[in-house]
């Protein structure tokens, strides 16, 4: 083993392309067996990570964070000041991709939209695995160039008085959009508020939350 230098990695990619089976399921299986044989991997740990991100971690956690901020102005101020510290305060211990969490707030005249044009950076510990469209070319190419057209494809037609702030995740900061609390929800409890906060609203591809989603 020697220090890894990625310069010239395209050579390794082309070797892999030529010599390793093209079917992803087969080659991932081969990779797992190989790493286990090499003593670099324990399959039971792989199982545990899969279960965590399949069954426990997902947008419901982000929704809960937003609901708490809606209900508690002091928590909201701390969340906007330092998202990483504030979510720990709620007992959210998962830290994957939220070491530098930045929460940005939608207002009557501002709409925030998050993208990662260079890869697919995403606050996984509180939103789970990225949507497929978030990782794909069309969204990454267009969100910074024509955000309003992209938003229309998501069913969001922004009025003229609302300005868009696009956040391109070019560093290790991870962005979470805090959508606006819908009118008429003043008396709602935390669980009911959490139930209407969607994944897309926390990325910024949805704006007005539907109060009927909570089932009345």
């Amino acid at each position: 083993m020697h220090d890894y230098d990625p310069t010239g990695a395209e050579h390794h990619h082309s070797q892999i392309h030529s010599h390793v089976p093209g079917e992803p399921a087969l080659r991932v299986k081969a990779l797992e067996s190989l790493l286990v044989e090499k003593g670099l991997l324990d399959s039971a740990a792989v199982d545990a990570w899969v279960e965590a991100y399949r069954d426990q971690i997902g947008p419901k956690i982000g929704a809960w964070v937003v609901a708490r901020a809606w209900m508690d102005a002091e928590f909201k101020a701390r969340l906007l000041a330092d998202g990483t510290l504030a979510i720990r305060e709620l007992g959210i211990e998962d830290g994957f991709q939220v070491g530098h969490l930045k929460v940005v707030e939608n207002t009557a005249d501002t709409h925030n939209l998050v993208v990662c044009t260079l890869c697919s950076c995403y606050p996984m510990a509180i939103l789970g695995i990225q949507p497929v469209w978030y990782k794909k070319d069309a969204y990454r190419a267009r969100a910074v160039r024509e955000p309003r057209a992209v938003l229309r494809e998501f069913g969001v037609d922004l009025p003229d008085g609302v300005a868009v702030r696009v956040w391109d995740s070019t560093a290790e900061l991870r962005y979470l959009v805090m959508p606006q609390r819908p009118p008429g929800t003043e008396a709602w409890d935390e669980a009911r508020l959490t139930s209407i906060i969607t994944r897309n609203s926390m990325i910024g591809t949805e704006r007005d939350l539907h109060t009927t989603a909570a089932g009345g």
């Binding site: 020697h2 390794h12 067996s33 670099l40 991100y53």
Partner: protein, 220 residues
């Protein structure tokens, strides 16, 4: 590097395939690949920037046609090969022909709960004053290294305004080639019309997190 990965502002990719919810791992192998990456015992010379730089060098046609976790496969396979940990033959067969490096015990299932709490930090001590203050007018550098950078092509040479200073963070451009350098990190707001001429009348802004090494002073 000016690769296929630098997608911001590019034309021709068509409409977004909108979804509101989906399973995290539609196919089982995608979950396995995610879990392998989280659980693997890493050679000490690896870092997130070397991973990104490796992923950026996937041949363009494969970059746009392979799914996300298949790109993780390509990148980790290339990093293992490039570190001398595995051979092509071993990747192809899934059978080990020689002992692996002694890196200590890999993560066990009971250790995953603790590993999940790790929130990796990239801020670093820095003993000089940052060159720009909030409100400063800056211009993103027009040039970029032929190796990895987090300054996207669409912002190069464009004027913007510093809206926040995040302290000094690890500079990915250096880290990707094996040098850890701390550089002040700023949020910089660009008028969308300064990035894309057809948007000249738009009130919209595009905010990027850029390091001091990516910026120079601008007037006006």
């Amino acid at each position: 590097m000016d690769g296929i990965h630098d997608m911001g502002g590019r034309h021709g990719y068509g409409p977004v395939k909108v979804t509101t919810a989906e399973p995290p791992f539609p196919e089982e192998w995608q979950g396995r690949m995610f879990g392998i990456v989280r659980a693997i015992k890493r050679p000490p010379s690896w870092n997130i920037d070397k991973f990104r730089y490796t992923r950026e060098q996937i041949p363009p046609i494969e970059y746009v046609t392979r799914t996300y976790f298949d790109q993780w496969y390509m990148s980790y396979a290339a990093m293992l090969l490039g570190s001398g940990v595995v051979t092509l033959q071993e990747l192809a067969t899934g059978r080990s022909a020689a002992a692996g490096p002694d890196l200590g015990q890999p993560m066990t299932a009971p250790e995953v709960a603790k590993a999940r709490t790790v929130a990796a930090r990239f801020d670093r001590p820095y003993d000089r004053a940052p060159a720009f203050s909030v409100g400063a007018r800056v211009r993103a550098r027009a040039d970029a290294p032929v190796t990895h950078t987090r300054l996207p092509g669409y912002a190069r040479g464009r004027p913007g305004t510093v809206i926040a200073h995040h302290g000094a963070h690890v500079l990915p451009d250096a880290s990707a080639i094996g040098r850890e350098v701390a550089s002040p990190l700023y949020a910089v707001a660009f008028r969308i019309g300064d990035l894309f001429a057809e948007q000249k009348d738009s009130p919209d802004m595009v905010n990027l997190d850029l390091w001091e090494a990516h910026l120079e002073p601008a007037s006006g």
